[in-house]
Symmetry: C2
Subunit: 147 residues, 2 copies
DNA sequence: CAGGATCCCGCTAGATACTG
DNA sequence: CAGTATCTAGCGGGATCCTG
């Protein structure tokens, strides 16, 4: 093989970089939590917002059934809800418990790991609530100037 | 109009939920930082970032040229780099400075807002480095059990 | 050097229908 | 109730070519 072309070197650099990204923990985490429904499921299971059904239970780790979750996250399709729940279970962030009643009852709950991740999400939420309005203002100003 | 079908009610719920999500600051922030290249640009401009060589350690606010960034983020296409930089500038997270040399010199730097966001990213990085190996282990165990 | 304009492909979310 | 299976369209993102 003679000397490589610039295109070949670039291609190789891309491959290397992709491999690097695939092994980067921060990148993996970002991919995880940025999933459209992950944050919402974590929030639903981790916090104790006012609940439509039933009375006020608050505080202790929340467990929710499949159908409760699907009502809570009104816009989610069954496919995505199931898929997201599976992946979270796979990662050890939530537990899935099947109770062999008739019909079956399935409940989901955060693990310790999931709760710790929920804390990180809280940090994100805090920044968002403190600064997103500023970001939005910048955006409008920028658009106005460019128009 | 007679009573609505279940499908109609579901469709309406989805619309409402989408609207809610569109106005949710946390969601907006998540969308922002989960962009494939945003985190890397923030890291590149905010510190010495994920680079094997070079001594590391977080340093003073860095300013970088377009071509430096494109070399640092080896896998990025010109289109995505430009697009991402623009959107970050629009949001007031970075500044773009054009120096009319020949040929032109363009440098990018974090704003205060950008630096504050960079701190949040650091929290994410910390969790990732502390817990992602556990997540990965869970994943393997899960796959093994399912195989 | 820095970036605009285009074309195009792969992936994935979503709708729909079926099942234990 | 809590899923699985399949099919499809839309679009994000990359490659490529061009310019001030």
């Amino acid at each position: 093989m003679p000397t490589r072309t610039a295109a070949q070197r670039r291609a190789q650099a891309k491959v290397d970089y992709d491999a690097f990204l695939a092994n980067c923990p921060s990148r993996q985490l970002l991919d995880r939590i940025s999933d459209k429904w992950v944050a919402l499921i974590l929030a639903a299971l981790g916090s104790d917002g006012p609940h439509p059904s039933g009375g006020g239970c608050a505080g202790e780790p929340r467990s929710m059934r499949y159908s409760e979750l699907s009502r809570r996250l009104a816009g989610v399709s069954q496919k995505m809800l199931t898929q997201t729940l599976r992946s979270l279970e796979r990662d050890g962030l939530i537990t899935r418990t099947v109770t062999p009643t008739v019909p079956v009852t399935v409940t989901y709950e955060l693990t310790d790991l999931g709760r710790s991740l929920h804390q990180v999400m809280y940090g994100i939420k805090a920044w968002a609530e403190a600064h997103m309005d500023e970001v939005l203002a910048n955006r409008e100003e920028y658009d106005a100037r460019m128009a």
